[in-house]
């Protein structure tokens, strides 16, 4: 069992999108509604909130937050604005600051940094678009890069590449 951090709950509550952790009453409706929880015992939104409240920082930040689909079913049903679907974003950003991000997400961030798009347009597709009379894809990879540099993405990604992601594939 890892060490307990009594301040963790407040750290999450003060992270953007994390304040719901203060009002959770552990009723279990979120897990009862979650489509992933029905397949995977490891993903349990209520338990996630419980672990944040109890202060199990390492357990929460590594591996656990990345199963969430962000389908927001839990958000619609939570009676106390615990809003675990939002809190997930808060703990993910905390994990990202420590460089703990799954491969797939790092890949997407890299694309965004280099091309301004999440998914790059392949050569053959650019040709096909031209043949079909579709306008050129107009983007600004420079602006995307600037924004990401300014908000610290580049450091985050470097750190993520340096550390192994602990997400099981």
């Amino acid at each position: 069992m890892s060490e307990v951090d009594p301040n963790f709950m407040h750290e999450v509550a003060n992270t953007p999108r994390g304040k719901g952790v203060l009002t959770c009453i552990q009723c279990g409706r979120c897990t009862s509604s979650c489509p992933v929880a029905r397949f995977l015992t490891e993903h349990n939104p209520r338990r996630l909130m419980e672990m944040i409240i109890l202060g199990f920082r390492p357990d929460v930040l590594h591996r656990l937050p990345w199963y969430c689909l962000s389908c927001f079913t839990c958000l619609d049903r939570c009676p106390q604005r615990g809003d675990v679907g939002e809190v997930v974003f808060a703990i993910r950003s905390l994990a990202a600051r420590e460089g703990d991000v799954p491969e797939g997400v790092v890949e997407q961030a890299k694309n965004l940094f280099e091309t301004g798009r999440l998914v790059p347009t392949a050569e053959f597709m650019l040709r096909q678009r031209k043949n079909l009379g579709l306008p050129e894809v107009s983007t600004s990879s420079k602006d995307a890069e600037t924004i990401m540099r300014r908000t610290g993405f580049d450091k985050m990604m470097a750190k993520a590449r340096g550390e192994r992601s602990k997400v099981r594939k």
Binding site: C27, G28, Q80
Partner: protein, 448 residues
């Protein structure tokens, strides 16, 4: 009866247990009471219940006392008491004045039935119109001429003019033709009454949250998902199934029943307070079902089991150990219906074992929030009293003046004040308190 001085007369608004208790206490002390009730009969929510906990005089093995034993004698006493003037099917329309001297305008809606009605029931039998019966929570129909329930007080019929064919100009006068007592009088008009009273007690009770606002629970779509009050009607011997627990889809007895607590209560999307009586009454009904047939599976889905007060925690423990009621600490996510059997599948996470599971029950009961009565806003405007932010009657001070409203001389009791541990003994206690306050202010030397 001697002409009542304003200082010796009181208006009680609402004919439920709190209103009835207050009326009887005031009347016994020699004051003249006007007990006004919007529906055709007094009795209120308590008359809709099967039993009330805990058991008092009856068989010690039973979970509770039938409402008849507790409420009926009081209802009859209200009717007979020389100091109580019962005004049913009537409503307060205007109020002026101040403490010690209120002038209240009341409208008495026409029943179109004279007092000589003996409730023989022939007109009800012959009436061709059927509409859902509000008292039965819509589970059974009534006629356009009706009594809401057999033990209604006053025990005469009423014609619901909105649904009556005679008043819709379709030429029906069957009830007049068959009435041997010649009690039908279609030409009755609404009557305006002016009452002069020294004090007013508001005891208008509660309504129930509509669970179809939570689509995931399927209320209104799935036949075998009911509210707690609807279950009370099914369990009640005077109800639509004469006390047999039969489920709506096929009329068969359910072998498994699941209660879901906190439906609309403790929910910031709807009513963020705890309704305070649901944990208690669901235990009562769960055990009542088990006592009828111990083989039935009964589940209770709860977040916190709030069984506070004398005897309730012991009862909660007994329900589990002795009667075999199964507690599951979970607020279910969704209910699904099996289209063939109409059974209900409940998806939930058992927060104790931390596993997501599902359970199929033949019948699901939603313990929905108790909310302010419809019409409370209007009544508050008429009386000039303030409401709290949920729409219940606001107390002058929650600690020191719990039955005073914000207008001197106007008091309140029962669930009209909101979920202040609002079960029946509490309503009776508050009614007594309101009566004492009435006395204090009417007969004190200083004007408040």
């Amino acid at each position: 009866m001697a002409r009542a001085h304003t200082k010796n007369s009181v208006l009680v608004i609402g004919g439920g247990i709190a209103g009835i208790q207050a009326s009887l206490e005031l009347a016994d002390k020699g004051l003249k009471v006007y007990l006004i009730e919007k529906s055709p009969s007094i009795g209120g929510r308590m008359a809709q219940l099967e039993k009330v906990f805990p058991v008092t005089d009856c068989s010690k093995d039973c979970v509770g006392t039938c409402w008849l034993c507790v409420l009926m004698p009081r209802m009859i006493e209200c009717y007979r008491h020389p100091n109580v003037k019962l005004l049913t099917y009537a409503e307060v329309k205007k109020a002026e004045g101040k403490i010690g001297n209120f002038t209240v305008n009341v409208v008495q809606y026409p029943r179109y039935v004279k007092d000589k009605c003996v409730n023989c029931g022939v007109c009800v039998e012959k009436c061709p119109v059927k509409v859902p019966n509000e008292f039965e929570m819509g589970l059974k129909d009534r006629k356009a001429i009706y009594t809401p329930f057999p033990q209604a007080i006053p025990n005469i019929v009423t014609i619901d003019a909105e649904n009556c064919l005679h008043f819709k100009k379709e030429g029906c006068s069957i009830c007049e033709e068959v009435c041997e007592a010649k009690a039908i009088n279609y030409s009755e008009k609404p009557e305006q009454l002016t009452l002069n009273v020294g004090a007013i007690i508001v005891a208008t009770g509660f309504d129930l949250f509509d669970p179809s606002q939570i689509p995931a629970f399927g209320y209104g779509k799935f036949k075998n998902v009911l509210t707690a009050m609807e279950l009370e009607r099914l369990l009640s011997p005077f109800g639509p199934t004469e006390g047999r627990l039969l489920r709506p889809s096929d009329g068969k007895e359910p072998e498994s029943v699941a209660f879901i607590l906190c439906v609309g209560s403790r929910d910031r999307r709807f009513y963020s307070y705890c309704s305070s009586i649901c944990c208690k009454y669901s235990l009562k009904m769960a055990v009542s079902i088990k006592q009828r047939n111990p083989k039935k599976e009964v589940y209770l889905f709860y977040t916190d089991l709030r069984a506070f007060g004398k005897g309730f925690q012991e009862f909660a423990n007994e329900a589990k150990k002795i009667y075999g009621v199964k507690y599951i600490r979970s607020n279910p996510g969704e209910l699904l219906e099996d289209s063939a059997t109409r059974d209900i599948k409940i998806w939930y996470e058992d927060t104790m074992s931390r596993s997501v599971q599902n359970l199929t029950a033949n019948l699901v009961v939603l313990c929905n929030a108790c909310i302010p009565r419809e019409g409370t806003n209007e009544l508050a405007k008429v009386l000039g009293i303030e409401l709290d932010n949920f729409g219940f009657v606001k107390q002058l001070d929650e600690i020191t003046h719990p039955v005073d409203t914000t207008v001197p001389g106007i008091f309140a009791a029962g669930y009209a004040l909101g979920p202040r541990t609002g079960d029946i003994p509490d309503s009776i206690t508050q009614a007594s308190a309101a009566v004492e306050r009435v006395f204090e202010v009417l007969h004190s030397r200083k004007e408040e």
